[in-house]
């Protein structure tokens, strides 16, 4: 019963935090205090769910019955625990960062910003712990809607991007995901996530493949090409949003759902039986390579990171598409690995913007000496993206490769090789420019800056440190991932 309360709390805490922020909106210090307290509390709540889940418990909680046979219900299983754990860990860090960033850049509407953030976290928790497809869908949509004001934070100039963002996410989820869910319900009479899947024996043949298309393209947040456009568009948001939401919570909700659907709705064996299911592998591979290539040509740092995210998300999808239990482990771990790595990179981008007001890579020459911590963290994050030790990206790549060999998907191996090179090709020049190119001569006041405000630096050091720590001590995510793959 205690665990059920914890689930409820994990939803309530962010909601109450949002309320508290609204009430404290007039006093910035108090407002930020509420955010931080809420974030830390959430982390506490979520992490107290971890031991029972690791021990094999699956806490459940039903909030209310929505329709006959369909309820808003929650069930904590390892994959959701992993996702929630990552989001809950990063929220306090990101809050700290946001404080530095939003104040450093004198952004408008900060109260609204923090409220929406808290609601987005509420939605992320709901997605993570959803026990059935409808609950997941509900929170998935809340996540979309609550992040819309964040994307359009800058007002009219971000309107077009916001349209793309909302348009693609709502179109795919309502147009594809919803019918897929209803189809599943119609075919099986259940929508509850079940280990081994629920569609086995109920839907088969081409219909199964069609259903997989509906699902995996319906999950627009996974940003498979060609419906990835919302993600680069979302980069108009303030950097903390890009960092926690568009590198972690929102996009991970997407790939998380992909794994969840693959494992708990289809079931790997059922998916294997679908004719032409390789399409997912091809699409994921295509996305990985093409997005990386596009990233190569982006001069805007955040856009490059965004395309990198598109590519990295497809690593997770690739892991699911390989359809081997071990690749699922890899995909699950990649959710964690990419989260910590990419949030570090975005933090660094925001740090640069705050301290130096630079957004383009071509402006970054020599910045490593002015902002050693920022660029040091960036380096670690980039290494994690490339997947080289001693960063956690290596571990997920390890299991993805192992899955590829287990399932004899040598194509996947080839994709990972090329993608590693592309990753290096678009990240390393940034590091090089920061540390080895001399600063361009300019007006002296252009270069009067040093590091960003301390909350920013602390936050990005924590996340960069975590990519190293998780490499050295991967035990907890590994145990969770193994339970998913099993």
């Amino acid at each position: 019963m205690v665990t059920a309360t914890l689930i409820l709390l994990s939803l309530l805490v962010p909601l109450l935090t949002a309320l508290g922020i609204a009430l404290a909106g007039r006093w910035p210090n108090m407002r930020e205090g509420v955010t931080l307290t809420g974030a830390l509390l959430l982390a506490l709540v979520v992490y107290s769910l971890l031991p029972p889940v690791l021990a094999g418990e699956r806490p459940e909680f039903t909030l209310l019955d929505m329709m006959p046979g369909i309820s808003l219900a929650f069930r904590v299983e390892p994959l959701g625990m992993m996702f929630a754990g990552v989001a809950a860990f990063l929220w306090p860090v990101n809050s700290l960062y946001s404080i530095g960033y939003m104040r450093g850049n004198q952004e408008q509407h900060q109260t609204r910003f923090y409220i929406c953030f808290a609601i987005a976290l509420f939605a992320a928790m709901g997605v993570a712990f959803a026990a059935n497809l409808v609950t997941l869908f509900v929170f998935y949509e809340i996540l979309t809607l609550s992040t819309y004001p964040l994307v359009t934070h800058k007002g009219k100039s971000s309107l077009k991007a916001g349209r793309v963002y909302l348009g693609i996410l709502l179109f795919t989820s309502i147009g594809l995901l919803l019918p897929a869910i209803i189809w599943t319900w119609q075919a099986t009479g259940t929508i509850t996530f079940t280990p081994g899947g629920i569609l086995g024996g109920k839907v088969s043949g081409v219909a199964l493949t069609a259903l997989s298309v509906l699902y995996f393209y319906g999950i627009g947040k996974a940003a498979l090409m060609p419906i990835h456009r919302w993600l680069p568009a979302a980069m108009v948001a303030p950097t903390p949003v890009s960092a926690l939401l568009h590198a972690v919570a929102v996009v991970k909700a997407g790939v998380f759902t992909v794994i969840k659907v693959a494992v708990y709705v289809f079931g790997l064996e059922t998916l294997q039986s679908a004719p032409g299911i390789e399409w997912l592998l091809y699409v994921a591979g295509f996305t990985i390579l093409v997005a990386s290539t596009i990233a190569l040509y982006q001069d805007n740092l955040k856009r490059r990171l965004a395309y990198s995210t598109v590519s990295q998300l497809s690593y997770v999808v690739l892991g699911a598409a390989i359809l081997a239990p071990i690749s699922i482990v890899g995909a699950t771990l990649h959710i964690v690995a990419h989260a910590f790595g990419k949030i570090t990179l975005f933090f660094a981008a925001g740090s640069i913007y705050t301290a130096a007001h630079k957004t383009e890579i071509s402006q970054l020459n020599g910045i490593g000496y002015r902002m050693p911590w920022t660029m040091g963290a960036f380096t670690i994050g980039a290494l994690s993206m490339i997947g080289v030790p001693p960063a956690v990206g290596f571990i997920s790549k390890w299991y993805l490769l192992m899955g590829a060999f287990e399932a004899h998907q040598y194509l996947a191996f080839g994709i990972i090789i090329v993608s590693t090179l592309l990753n290096a090709a678009y990240f390393m020049p940034i590091i090089y420019a920061a540390f080895f190119r001399p600063e361009a001569p300019g007006k002296p006041d252009d270069y009067g800056h040093g590091e960003a405000p301390w909350p920013i630096v602390v936050a990005l050091c924590i996340t960069a440190g975590m990519t190293l720590v998780l490499f050295l001590f991967p035990e907890i995510p590994y145990q969770l991932a193994i339970q998913v793959g099993r």
Partner: protein, 491 residues
């Protein structure tokens, strides 16, 4: 007393109407109307709770038993519709006072409340009655009062609209009368249950088929079935705001209910679907409504007109549910009766709020209001999401069952059309949202403030209803399922 509830349901508003008129003081008329609507709502809810176990209340007016006297039959289906109609009235009437003060000349206020009460009693009576001719009479009461209500609009075009509606409504009424007359000719009875019983052996009859055709077209006109909808956009767009809200939430719903009553209660599902093949008429027309009306809504300059076109599309969904001819389809129709009442009621009330402050409801008036009327615009967003069918709102529940019904049938194209309709809804709703939140207030528009709480509360009651019944549709879905099963004769 409680056994007289069915009669009171009709009698209270019907008697309140002349009372209002006789007293002649606007404020008192309003108070009477409000109290009457609350009483009606209380009665309706009591009735629904009473029949929710599947029982049927038969109430013979003046103790003249059927089939000779007029019998009121209350089962789950019409109790449900009663709740919708009286519930909406109960929310809108208290709201109406400030809004009416702003939009209607003071000398007409008493007339307004009288007409509204008459309209309410007509709609309630249509719903509750078990007598075909009585239904026609009450239909005319509600129609005539509706014409009056529409013509009270500030917009001069409201007169034309009201006149057109009068013409069309009269044709519709006449067709229904002809249909009922033919049935009477065949069977010699007007009691619905009796009719159903006596029609069974007559199924091959040409007359019966003609009656069927007249009734379908007649009700089609009343409920604005595509392409018989032409009267609706102007009527809704030009009527006083409160009237639009009330009508959009109730009038078409009752018409749909009445049609269902005839199709399934009198003719029977088997006759309707398997002999008359009504689905082949309804499905294409419904789809056309969904697509064409939605698309037209996208381009409307007036937000009220836009909502009016959206209503046409929503009626399309209801007819589609009937056309899909299975349990989930019918369930979706019934759920959508309720859900759409909540959605459109709320959205039109928002429009009333905007009219109250900004003096108009064209997109120009709405532009830049996000900051100035935050609560009203937030209500619009919430209602809009519900219209689109975003989860945790009632719109989602209706869509869910409708899509399930289409998947049950295996009609994939229709699934796609339903979703397409939702997505177009997204476009037209978002157009307004963007205008409200992302554009500066045009210089020629006044700077306004939020409406008083008295107006906000009813608006938000409906919005919260959207959310509550969207999160917890066990009850409504349960009632709808049972009612649908009864209509299909499955239970």
């Amino acid at each position: 007393m409680s056994s007289q509830l069915p009669a009171l349901q009709l009698v209270i508003p019907l008697l309140s109407a002349p009372l209002c008129f006789l007293i002649g003081k606007a404020r008192i008329a309003w108070a009477i109307a409000t109290l009457a609507s609350w009483a009606c709502a209380a009665i309706a809810v009591t009735l629904l709770l009473r029949v929710n176990d599947g029982s049927v209340i038969e109430y013979a007016f003046g103790n003249w038993p059927g089939p000779w006297g007029i019998v009121y039959t209350i089962d789950r289906l019409n109790a449900f519709v009663l709740v919708i109609v009286s519930g909406i009235a109960a929310v809108i009437l208290p709201y109406s006072w400030p809004s009416v003060c702003r939009e209607i000349p003071p000398r007409l206020h008493v007339l307004f409340y009288t007409a509204l009460l008459l309209c309410l009693s007509g709609l309630l009576g249509m719903t509750i009655t078990g007598d075909a001719f009585n239904l026609f009479v009450l239909l005319e009461i509600s129609s005539l009062s509706t014409y009056t209500l529409i013509s009270l609009g500030k917009d001069r075009r409201s007169l034309t609209a009201a006149f057109q509606y009068l013409v069309m409504g009269t044709i519709g009424g006449t067709f229904i009368l002809i249909g009922v007359g033919l049935l009477y000719m065949l069977t010699g009875t007007l009691n619905m249950a009796d009719l159903a019983h006596r029609l069974q052996p007559l199924e091959g009859s040409r007359t019966l088929q003609a009656a069927f055709a007249f009734l379908v077209v007649g009700f089609g006109l009343k409920l604005a079935m595509f392409p018989l909808h032409l009267w609706l956009p102007n009527a809704y767009a030009t009527a006083p705001s409160v009237v639009s809200a009330f009508l959009a939430a109730t009038a078409t719903k009752v018409a749909v209910y009445a049609m269902l009553r005839f199709l399934f209660g009198i003719f029977g599902a088997d006759f309707t679907y398997n002999q008359m093949h009504l689905q082949f008429l309804l499905v294409p027309l419904a789809l056309m409504a969904i697509l064409f009306a939605s698309m037209t809504a996208v381009y409307q300059r007036g937000v009220k007109r836009m909502l009016a076109y959206s209503s046409l599309a929503q009626i399309g969904y209801m007819l589609l549910g009937i056309g899909l001819a299975n349990l989930h389809g019918l369930m979706a129709t019934l759920l959508h009766l309720f859900n759409h009442a909540l959605i459109k009621g709320a959205l039109f009330l928002v429009m009333a709020n905007i009219f109250y402050r900004a003096g108009g409801t064209a997109i120009n008036h709405v532009t830049g209001l996000g900051r100035q009327m935050p609560w009203s615009m937030a209500a619009f967003v919430a209602g809009g999401l519900s219209l689109i069918g975003v989860p945790l709102t009632v719109g989602f529940i209706s869509k869910w069952y409708l899509i399930q019904a289409s998947i049950d049938r295996g009609w994939w194209l229709i699934t796609a059309m339903i979703l397409l309709g939702s997505l177009i809804a997204l476009v037209y709703i978002w157009r307004v949202v963007e205008a409200a939140y992302f554009k500066e207030r045009p210089p020629d528009q006044p700077t306004v403030t939020e409406v008083p709480l008295w107006l906000l509360i009813p608006t938000w009651v409906l919005i919260l209803g959207n959310i509550w019944f969207g999160m917890n549709a066990e009850f409504t879905a349960g009632v709808a399922e049972a009612a649908a099963a009864t209509l299909l004769g499955e239970r």
